[in-house]
């Protein structure tokens, strides 16, 4: 992929104008409730200005800096997932007439063309995983597909990974390599622009501005920043066959050890960009004439997730953590050909007791090797 050109920071809003001119609504990072959240926005003034993040196991804090850049932070709790796989959505409604006859009515939303600005490599990799799950030939999800088709993805390479990040070791970042329409690399005075799709080219052409030519010195700086972002990451997955490891560690005492700390709260699954579990729910109207059938994000850490006719298959926390970790780092390989982890580190930062998935995997390697 070659860079298309350079967009000066002062003219960034020309990109917003171009997106609006093709009818796209814009979503991007803003500071909200003490975190970086992806919300509707219409101008670069709404981006986080002078904001860094400090993340550690069980900890997420924003800090103020004099850094004039807008993307000097690693991801907050959510990014793309809620915009394609809705946290709560109606699937259909049933109506019952006086004779008891039932009528089923499909619920269909027609999402607007939506550009997400500032998505990271880890979340693009997770989106590709969600695409595999929701858009495969056996399990094609129409609601997901409709939102997915309306997405324009404008990535920004991550130059400030958090201490909890390990995308470098999963091979998913910090540089974005696919699944975006436009890729931006942030420099002090602007952005290097790379288009990667017809849509991306269309947007750049719609800008009332000619991109400048990227200078070799700028290119050098970009390459250096991207390389450093990978090198900065201190956490990493064990360099072993995780499927093999987990197949031998299913009865390890480590699961009980984790269960002493794990609250089974499900935060890790809520913030995980690849977790796809959801429950179906029924909400009858008070007049008894209609009922709404919806789905909502669910977690394998809940009691109800494994409930079946009067019994719960995974009663204990160690069984639930084992289910989650084994699925993420082993089951996904068999289901979709790769690990379900993209190294975003959210499950580490947002775990209220600071359980670190990389540390747990290393402990298992250690146990497997030394007993």
């Amino acid at each position: 992929m070659t860079h298309t050109g350079f967009l000066p920071r002062d003219h960034f809003d020309k990109l917003f104008d171009a997106l609006q001119s093709i009818g796209a609504e814009c979503i991007g990072p803003v500071v909200s409730a003490g975190t970086i959240a992806y919300q509707p926005l219409s101008s670069s003034t709404q981006f986080p200005h002078g904001v860094h993040d400090e993340q550690a196991p069980g900890s997420y804090r924003l800090t103020s800096t004099t850094d004039a850049r807008w993307f000097s932070w690693a991801n907050g709790a959510q990014a793309i997932k809620p915009l394609v796989f809705a946290p709560l959505e109606t699937l259909w409604r049933s109506e019952r007439d006086q004779q008891g006859k039932l009528c089923f009515v499909a619920h269909q939303e027609n999402p607007a063309l939506t550009a997400i600005i500032g998505v990271r490599a880890c979340d693009l990799a997770a989106l590709a995983l969600q695409d595999q799950h929701f858009l495969n030939e056996h399990s094609y999800d129409e609601a997901y597909a409709r939102r997915r088709q309306q997405l324009i993805l404008i990535a920004v390479n991550c130059t400030h990974p958090a201490a909890t990040c390990f995308c470098h070791s999963t091979g998913d970042g910090p540089q974005a390599s696919s699944h975006f329409d436009i890729l931006l690399d942030e420099l002090d005075d602007g952005f290097a622009v790379t288009t990667a799709s017809t849509m991306g080219e269309k947007i750049i052409q719609a800008m009332t501005l000619e991109l400048e030519t990227l200078q070799p010195a700028q290119l050098d700086e970009i390459n250096r920043a991207n390389r450093q972002a990978g090198e900065q990451q201190s956490r990493h997955l064990p360099a072993v066959d995780l499927q093999q490891l987990l197949s031998t560690m299913q009865e390890s005492s480590r699961w009980q050890d984790i269960a002493q700390r794990c609250l089974s709260c499900g935060n890790c699954t809520s913030v995980c960009p690849s977790c796809f579990c959801h429950s179906h729910q029924e909400a009858p109207a008070a007049d008894g004439l209609s009922s709404t059938h919806s789905r909502q994000w669910d977690s394998c850490f809940t009691h109800g997730h494994s409930y079946i006719h009067g019994q719960v298959i995974r009663k204990d926390t160690h069984q639930r953590y084992r289910q989650w970790l084994t699925h993420k780092f082993s089951g996904w390989f068999q289901q979709y050909g790769r690990s379900g982890c993209v190294g975003c580190g959210r499950c580490i930062s947002w775990c209220p007791v600071g359980i670190d998935v990389t540390e747990e995997l290393h402990a298992m390697v250690n146990e497997a090797q030394h007993g």
């Binding site: 039932l102 089923f104 129409e142 959801h278 009858p284 789905r295």
Partner: protein, 277 residues
């Protein structure tokens, strides 16, 4: 919206109380065209929907050739099955399906078949037994072993009597606890395996019931010379979408709703019987 997630309206045609907690509903789509289009294999299941309550996966026990009604045998154990138990002939409900992979009919064709089931009204096994009995000449010797906890739990006594009368068909019953007048085995189904009058090294073996019972049966059969590829099991987990999306039915890397519910033993032997999987 994905049509596979939206139920079709059906009407209760018949309701049969099989035991205090087990009942069968014979259902027919309100739209007669759907009745003609609908086809399934024994071992597959439907999602049944009760208005305002929700959905539940239920095996189909009637014959695939039977067109007047789709019969579902249901144990009243949860919120939705409780609501289903109150339905009467003429009442409406929703059906979507069929889902999953059923029993290995092709593999069983012209082979001896051993069916071992445990528990109350094990619907997936009844579907295949009914199927075989209606096409008896397409199969070799058939042995059926049914186990229940208490002899009073045994339903369909007359069916077992009828099956017993068929040529080349053996029926063995077991109860952990026997009440008055029980003339069958008292104990576990595995204790009846030595009495099976067919060559288990050549037979297709189908298991249905509690996982521990299926695991014990499979292990005993394997030690008696059966091959793991001959043994098939019907598995159960929480299912909500039935289309491989919601994640609840994951059993290892398999989704029971689409990769099962019937699995070959060789594909799940690494997990079978392990707690919390």
């Amino acid at each position: 919206m994905d049509n596979r997630l939206i139920p079709m309206e059906a009407t209760v045609i018949t309701r049969t109380q099989e035991s205090p907690s087990i009942f069968s509903l014979g259902l027919r789509f309100t739209d007669s065209a759907l009745n003609d289009q609908y086809s399934f294999q024994p071992g597959q299941f439907n999602m049944l929907y009760v208005f305002g309550i929700g959905e539940v996966p239920i095996s189909i026990v009637s014959d695939p050739q039977q067109t007047d009604e789709l019969v579902h045998t249901i144990r009243n154990v949860g919120r939705v099955t409780q609501a289903l138990s109150t339905l009467k002939p003429g009442d409406r409900l929703g059906i979507r399906g069929p889902y999953g992979r059923g029993w290995p009919l092709q593999a069983a064709h012209q082979h001896d078949v051993l069916i071992v089931t445990g528990g109350l009204g094990c619907a997936p096994s009844v579907s295949i037994i009914n199927y075989i009995m209606s096409r008896r000449h397409q199969f070799g010797r058939v042995s059926i072993i049914q186990g229940v906890k208490h002899s009073d739990d045994l339903i369909w006594q007359t069916r077992y009597q009828e099956w017993m009368q068929q040529d080349n068909t053996q029926v063995l019953l077991a109860a952990d606890v026997a009440g008055h007048g029980w003339s069958w085995h008292i104990g576990l189904v595995t204790e009846l395996l030595p009495q099976v009058e067919l060559d288990i090294t050549q037979a297709i073996i189908m298991l249905c019931g509690p996982e521990m019972m299926m695991q014990a049966t499979a292990q005993q059969l394997l030690s008696s010379g059966a091959n793991a590829d001959q043994i098939w099991l019907s598995m159960e987990r929480n299912m909500q979408c039935a289309t491989g999306l919601c994640g609840h039915c994951q059993y290892g890397a398999d989704f029971i709703c689409k990769d099962g519910p019937v699995f070959c033993y060789s594909t799940i032997q690494d997990r079978l019987g392990r707690r919390g999987i």
